[in-house]
Structure formats: structure tokens, C-alpha cells
């Protein structure tokens, strides 16, 4: 049983370390890989809570869909200027204020969590194995939560249409509209294309 706790703490620390790395990395691609690590650790925590179904959903939706979208966007944008990273953020007053807000939020949330623990009843089973099985979730989703379920499908449809409309080029302009500030962008190295072909 002690090993169970140790495994949980191990993956919990993995979640936190991945989260810190997402914030601290200079390059967005490195942040994306750290985010993938965090998502995987969260999925492991779901399994330890007794809900492998939600862990699979987590991996499919977050690691499979959202993160791939992020990586594709990073690739499409082809940012050539080096990122800023955290740097010496404590020298900038605005970012120092952000640090203070973040630490205050953490302390506050931990205090609320610790104080609320006393008012929670003793755990009945403390495992999700029964209540988060696909059968139970499906029954709840199609009876009590039917209306939110349908609204979610409409929301996803609206998101698809919105994404298409937002990224569509104006009619009749192929490539010119993509570089309205061509003088501002840094040109790729001259040897880039030959290197790709060779």
C-alpha cells in the first residue's frame, strides 16, 4: 500500500515538474513536449484513481488532439525570432507582480484545500472504479446530462466553423496576403532550400 502512495507522489511530482517546464522553456516546441509529459502523468493519476477510461480519454483528447494542434500551429507559424523565455523575470516589476500573484494563489488554494479536508466525510470507497466505468458514465450522459451533451456537440460544430472562417484567406488572393509585412519578417537562410533538396 505504501508503494501505491509512492507511485502516486511520483506521478504527481511529474505533473508539477512538467508544468514548471512548460512555463520556463524558451522554445514553444520544448514547452509542448513538457505539456505532453504533464498530460501523460495526469493520465497515470487517473488510472491510480481507478478510472482507466478517463485516462484513455485524456490521452486521446489532450495528447492526441489538442497537443497535435498546438505543434501544427507552431510549425505553421515558423517563428524565426528566438523566444524570450523566463529570463531574469524578477528584475521586471510586472513579472515580479505575476510571481507574487502566483505564489499567493498557490498558498490560498492549499489553505482552502487543507481546511476543507476536515469537513469532508470519511471516504466511502475512494475509488472511481464503480462510478466512473464507461457504463455508468454513459447512462448519466444520456439521461441526466442529455441537454449539456447536445449543447457540447453544437459547441464543437461552432468551433469547427469558427476555425475554418478564421484561417480562411480572403477570396482571390493566394499568397500575397500571407506576407503583408514581408519587409519585417526575417528572411530564411539562403541555403535552406538547397539543403532540403540535397
Amino acid at each position: 500500500m505504501i508503494a501505491y502512495h509512492l507511485i502516486y507522489i511520483f506521478f504527481g511530482l511529474g505533473v508539477l515538474a512538467g508544468g514548471v517546464n512548460v512555463v520556463a522553456q524558451k522554445n514553444p516546441v520544448n514547452s509542448a513536449i513538457s505539456l505532453l509529459f504533464t498530460f501523460m502523468c495526469v493520465a497515470a493519476l487517473y488510472i491510480l484513481h481507478g478510472s482507466p477510461f478517463l485516462a484513455m480519454i485524456q490521452i486521446i483528447v489532450y495528447a492526441g488532439a489538442i497537443l497535435i494542434l498546438v505543434v501544427f500551429t507552431i510549425m505553421l507559424l515558423a517563428l524565426r525570432e528566438p523566444g524570450q523565455g523566463l529570463g531574469k523575470f524578477w528584475t521586471m516589476p510586472q513579472k515580479l507582480a505575476a510571481l507574487i500573484v502566483g505564489v499567493a494563489l498557490a498558498v490560498e488554494l492549499v489553505i482552502v484545500a487543507v481546511q476543507g479536508l476536515g469537513s469532508l466525510a470519511a471516504p466511502a470507497g475512494a475509488s472511481l472504479a464503480e462510478i466512473a466505468s464507461p457504463a455508468t458514465l454513459g447512462k448519466a450522459l444520456f439521461s441526466k446530462y442529455l441537454l449539456p451533451f447536445e449543447v457540447a456537440s453544437v459547441l464543437l460544430l461552432v468551433a469547427i466553423v469558427g476555425a475554418v472562417v478564421l484561417t480562411r484567406r480572403p477570396h482571390g488572393t493566394a499568397a500575397a496576403i500571407d506576407a503583408p509585412h514581408a519587409d519585417e519578417t526575417i528572411e530564411p537562410p539562403a541555403g535552406d532550400e538547397q539543403g532540403g533538396q540535397a
Binding site: 478510472s51 505553421l76 502566483g102 519585417e184
Partner: protein, 100 residues
């Protein structure tokens, strides 16, 4: 079994890390990733508490949060691409048209 304090503490700390990242980073894509971190923290808290209280609402809400996160990812990243076409950067410090 796992004490309910573990997911609550991990969720609280992860949410704070995400909020700090949104405040301190100026790269729009990294800010977006920090928002995903915060959503994951909320999901973890919901899972931990619904396991403790033995209610089915937590996992249901987690699934709805995932659906909303997917919609948010699609629209948000499309907005980044539209912004990049306009200004050739996604550094949010450069988008200050509304500044007085």
C-alpha cells in the same frame, strides 16, 4: 487508498503554475498551453473529489471540460494564425491597438 488531499494539493499547485505562466509569458502559444495546464488541474481536482464523495458528476464534468478545451484549442489556434498573418508575430505585447 489515496487520501483526497493528494489530488487537491497537486491540482492547487498546478493551477497556480498555469496562472503564473499566463501572467509572465508573452508568447501566445505558451500562454495557451498554460491555460491547458489550469484546465488539467481542475480536472484532477474534480476526479479526486468525486472519487472521495462517490458521485458520478465529477467524471461527467471532466468530459465536458475536455470538449470545451478541444473547441477552445481549435478557435484559439485559428486566432493565432490570423494574428500572425496580420503582424507576423504572436508576441502579445505587439497587439495593443486598443491601448489608449
Amino acid at each position: 487508498m489515496i487520501p483526497v488531499s493528494y489530488p487537491l494539493l497537486i491540482g492547487a499547485l498546478l493551477f497556480s503554475i498555469g496562472a503564473f505562466g499566463v501572467l509572465v509569458r508573452r508568447n501566445a502559444i505558451i500562454m495557451f498551453m498554460c491555460i491547458e495546464l489550469m484546465l488539467n488541474a481542475v480536472n484532477l481536482t474534480l476526479i479526486g473529489l468525486s472519487g472521495h464523495l462517490q458521485v458520478v458528476d465529477g467524471p461527467i464534468f471532466v468530459m465536458f471540460i475536455m470538449a470545451v478545451a478541444a473547441a477552445e484549442a481549435a478557435v484559439g489556434l485559428a486566432i493565432f494564425i490570423a494574428l500572425y498573418r496580420r503582424k507576423a508575430t504572436i508576441d502579445v505585447a505587439n497587439f495593443n491597438i486598443l491601448k489608449g
